[in-house]
């Protein structure tokens, strides 16, 4: 078999053999001409000339000879790497840290932005958002969904879905399941086929309450049903009703929300069973449904958006009380429409920027080390230049060495990224919603890592290789210190840059740590320590309003009998993922357009809630026993509500209602302090507490406080609930402090990730400065020796050696501060209540950097003082 011509380059040994044969033939011919064997060989060598040169020339004629050279370079590079394992280890480790962190963050970004959803033609699928004021959220009502679906011409299908918890009972045990309620066309529009059985179809979503069918996710089928192949057709009990399992969806399909891992899908027609007592499905004003759509072929997102807005305008004219002013915007699906998209991608972007900076610092560090090594290799390089090696060839060889280092770093970095993403996927958030944070390493991540590796190699390798091959031959061969002076500015620049970048990162870490501290001590409007909560939904366990009220009455009595524990009921507590907001219309004030009615957080409270939560009552009274059905509805508002809706008057006794269509006026009877309701970064959000006795809620949270350990309090209230009905399953059961871990998450995450990045940067910078100073002192040891011999005092020597380092450090810190000030606003996405240009915090970063830099100089400076003149002078 013959190889293709371009693959058939000659190996060295082949060429050598061919030339040797040539030489022998020439010798033979000479002998035949009558020369002595000795003479013949000499003559042959003379005619043939330099064998090595011949081989070189022959190779040069081979258009693929450079491959051979490259192989040589790789072998030589590998040998070099193995010869100095310490340097190689440090280089590979710091690159692995930098590249690994980048790959891990990129894999997250990849999942959110680049990887297509496992649906048919994913780029046709978009998420719809309703825009009102500054708020953009995927929140629609079911009647509006139906109108949009039926009137829009630019979409080939429109689906609605809603995340919903439900209770499954099977074999005597209860479990809380998280799933989706979906419109009947959901799977059809997304183009998802069942892995087993069939999916929900439009025929399964026609009559309200008439389609008790359910589709399982692959994971649910595996975990809860032991991968039973005959699952289709079986019956399971959901919220006390029998549902028939239609089938199982493919493993990779998890709905449209990227980080939510639903277990089941139920037709929206079953909403009254899934969410008993909740009547949003018929209300045109509700915002409980997410909408996604598939564009018709050839329609652009912009075109569809324009058309949907004309539909929205028409709906606004037809139903002005609910829809006036409604606008629609479209965005890629996956992160709760546009609601989380900005902040999540912003956070990941900041993360990528920070890891990029760390990598850049690692690069400057390596560039510094390589520059130092390059000057140690001056002699070797000088010899090779003298022997006729081309500069380009030498640079190529050094770049190959850099590439080897960065490839090793990238390899180790991928392992690190793999570990990090595994860690993230296994991480359980402090709530019981099934999240799926796995991001995985796919081909795009690999490609990204390769590109990063090559770019890094060029970044840290190019400069040193250019420097090294610009050697002055004479002094290099004599190994004289000579005109190395030209190398200094470059090395200085590298260190200055490194210090500057480290200051930026350090400032970032200090900012996020301070921000975390702020978040932890922020005034919440209640006291989390010492309290515990349990939440459950009576509707999921077959209670209607009458039975529910009776249950709550008995529960209140039982709770009041618990020794040493004060407890109260509410529908929910602030700062959970589950919240409710209502449009506020105040008596005697003009009613704005439906879309512009301002919202307030709304809760139901039973007597004693504010005392248990330790929320300060500023005026009026709490909710009381007497606030029952039949008497005028009362509410307690917070100060922000008063400031916003009832400014410059006494709010007590004023009336308001929820939405312009409502007839239920509520009288303000009390005012409490301002607190946090949705996120820690909000300020002055208006909030309202209605009387639980007047507005029944099937969703109940028991809040309890006692001097006991929080866990004991928690156990006591759990027992109290289960004593009354052992069937009840809690969807939340934790201390109130643990409840806050979710809202604290962004600040926590930012502090831990950015904080550790800052530490890494600091460490790298310290290593860099230490390396530079050590090298500096070693190079000048002879000079120091002479100075010492001439009577310089140790202090003078320390001064001499430190002056330069201190100067560079100063320059770097100033540049870093300028840079940090310039890019500061980019950080605000992850900061809570902090000015990213806070001079005190930036100053702290600067001081910290200077301290670290100077301490990194200490050891080399000490070495400078200890130089023994007699040794130093004799060393060369």
């Amino acid at each position: 078999m013959r190889l293709p011509r371009w693959l058939r380059w000659r190996s060295n040994s082949e060429l050598e053999e061919e030339f040797q044969a040539h030489l022998d033939l020439e010798t033979q011919a000479n002998i035949e001409r009558g020369m002595s064997p000795e003479e013949a060989r000499f003559a042959a060598h003379r005619t043939v000339g330099n064998l090595t040169l011949m081989a070189e020339n022959a190779r040069a004629a081979d258009p693929f000879g450079w491959l051979q050279g490259l192989r040589q370079d790789f072998r030589y590079g590998l040998r070099n790497m193995l010869r100095s394992p310490g340097f190689t280890g440090i280089a590979v480790l710091s690159l692995a840290l930098g590249i690994g962190a980048n790959s891990a963050v990129f894999s997250l970004l990849n999942r959110m932005v680049f990887r297509p959803l496992p649906v048919l033609h994913p780029n046709q699928v978009l998420s719809a958002n309703s825009v009102s004021g500054t708020e953009v959220a995927p929140a629609f009502s079911y009647p509006n969904y139906k109108d949009f679906r039926d009137r829009s011409r630019s979409v080939s299908g429109m689906i609605g879905y809603r995340i919903a918890p439900m209770a499954m009972s099977r074999g005597g045990s209860n479990a809380q399941l998280w799933g989706y309620m979906v419109t009947g066309n959901y799977f059809e529009v997304l183009g998802v086929k069942a892995a087993i059985g069939r999916t929900i179809t439009s025929a399964d979503d026609v009559h309200a309450g008439g389609h008790p069918v359910i589709v399982l996710s692959y994971g649910c089928w595996q975990r809860r049903f032991g991968s039973d192949p005959n699952i289709a057709g079986q019956t399971i009990r959901i919220n006390g009703m029998n549902f028939t399992v239609l089938g199982v969806v493919p493993r990779e399909f998890r709905g449209l929300e990227l980080f939510y891992a639903p277990e089941v899908y139920v037709p929206l027609a079953m909403v009254k069973v899934i969410e008993p007592g909740n009547n949003w499905i018929d209300s045109r004003r509700a915002g409980n449904l997410s909408i996604a759509l598939r564009l018709r072929d050839g329609v652009t997102a912009r075109g569809a958006e324009a058309e949907l807005n004309t539909v929205a305008a028409a709906l606004g004219r037809e139903y002005p009380t609910d829809n006036e002013g409604m606008r629609i915007s479209l965005c890629p699906p996956g992160l709760a429409g546009a609601y989380l998209r900005g902040s999540v991608i912003g956070f990941t972007g900041v993360l990528l920027g920070v890891t990029g900076l760390v990598l850049l610092i690692a690069c400057t560090n390596l560039a510094g080390l390589l520059l130092a090594r390059a000057s140690d290799r001056r002699k070797e390089i000088g010899i090779r230049l003298a022997l006729g090696a081309g500069r380009a060839r030498l640079m190529r060889q050094m770049l190959v060495e850099s590439l080897l280092l960065s490839s090793a770093g990238a390899g180790a970095g991928l392992l690190l990224a793999w570990w990090l993403t595994g860690l993230l996927a296994a991480w359980r958030p402090p709530i019981n919603i099934p999240l799926d944070l796995s991001s995985g390493i796919d081909i795009r991540v690999l490609l990204f890592t390769c590109v990063v590796a090559v770019v890094t190699a060029v970044l840290f390798g190019l400069l040193p290789s250019m420097q090294a091959t610009r050697t002055d031959l004479q002094s290099a061969l004599k190994n004289a210190v000579g005109r190395g002076a030209r190398q200094w500015p470059m090395r200085d620049l590298v260190v200055t840059l490194q210090v500057a970048l480290s200051v930026v990162l350090l400032a970032g870490s200090i900012l996020v740590l301070r921000s975390l501290e702020n978040a932890m001590t922020v005034h919440l409007g209640f006291e989390p320590r010492g309290a515990a909560i349990v939440s459950f939904d009576l509707g999921l366990h077959g209670y209607d309003e009458t039975r529910g009220r009776a249950f709550l009455h008995r529960l209140t009595q039982k709770l009041s009998g618990l020794p040493g524990i004060s407890a109260a009921l509410a529908d929910r507590v602030p700062l959970g993922l589950d919240f409710s907001r209502m449009g506020i219309v105040v008596e005697g004030q003009p009613v704005p357009k439906a879309a512009d009615i301002p919202l307030a957080f709304s809760y139901d409270a039973a007597p004693g809630l504010f005392a248990v939560m330790q929320t300060k009552l500023l005026a009026g009274r709490e909710i009381q026993e007497g606030d029952r059905p039949g008497v005028p509805r009362v509410s307690v508002i917070n100060q922000a509500f008063a400031d916003r809706f009832l400014p410059r008057t006494n709010p007590l006794g004023k009336r308001f209602k929820y939405g312009s269509a409502s007839k239920d006026w509520r009288t303000v009877v009390g005012v409490v302090e301002i607190g946090k309701h949705f996120s820690l970064s909000e300020s002055h959000e208006p909030a309202v507490w209605d009387a639980l006795g007047q507005d029944y809620s099937s969703q109940i949270t028991v809040v309890a406080r006692s001097p006991l350990a929080e866990q004991e309090t928690l156990n006591a209230i759990r027992r109290a609930v289960l004593d009354l009905d052992p069937q009840i399953s809690f969807y939340q059961s934790s201390t109130l402090a643990d409840h806050l871990r979710m809202p604290m998450l962004p600040a926590n995450l930012a502090a831990s990730v950015l904080g550790s990045m800052g530490m890494v940067a600091m460490l790298l910078a310290a290593v860099g400065i230490y390396g530079l100073m050590s090298y500096h002192v070693a190079r000048r040891s002879r000079e120091f020796g002479i100075r010492a011999a001439l009577g310089a005092r140790p202090a003078d020597l320390v001064n001499t050696s430190l002056r330069r380092a201190a100067f560079l450090l100063g320059c770097g810190v100033v540049a870093g501060l300028a840079l940090a000030t310039a890019i500061g606003p980019l950080y605000s996405a992850v900061l809570y209540n902090i000015n990213p240009r806070d001079p005190v915090l930036l100053g702290a970063a600067a001081v910290l950097m200077i301290a670290i830099g100077l301490s990194a100089c200490a050891a080399p400076a000490r070495r400078a003082v200890r130089v023994d003149p007699s040794v130093a002078l004799r060393s060369e």
Binding site: R5, W6, R10, E14, L15, E17, E18, F19, A21, H22, D24, L25, E26, Q28, A29, T47, V48, G49, N50, L53, M54, N57, A58, A60, A61, D62, P63, W66, G390, R391, A392, R393
Partner: protein, 119 residues
């Protein structure tokens, strides 16, 4: 690739040397040394082949598919690489020979014309 002064010189000779190699191989496969000796001998020692530039030329010709090579046994029973003409090489030889003859004719016409004018 670093530019190599040696390669420059080869390129000057290239056309001619390539032509001579191809012509030599018309009589059958031959190894490098044999080609050099044959050219020298046929030209009555007028053309001295630089052995150093022979192999790059062979390499180039092989790369462009004009000749092909295989290991064989030389007359003194050593392993040697034998080169032989390919079909493409034969065609090239005919074309190049034609061109060469044209050029020689043209150059000698000019040189002869000068000789006549000179006196």
């Amino acid at each position: 690739m670093p530019p190599d002064p040696e390669t420059d010189r080869i390129q000057l000779l290239q056309g001619t040397l390539d032509l001579l190699i191809l012509q030599t191989l018309v009589f059958g496969p031959c190894h490098g040394h044999g080609i050099a000796v044959a050219i020298q001998r046929t030209s009555e020692e007028a053309l001295l082949i630089d052995h150093g530039s022979l192999y790059p030329a062979l390499q180039r010709l092989e790369q462009s598919g004009l000749i092909d090579s295989d290991w064989g046994t030389s007359e003194n029973n050593r392993r040697a690489r034998f080169y032989r003409l390919t079909r493409a090489g034969r065609a090239r030889l005919t074309a190049e020979t034609g061109k060469w003859e044209k050029m020689v004719r043209a150059v000698s016409l000019i040189l002869n014309a000068r000789k006549q004018e000179a006196p």
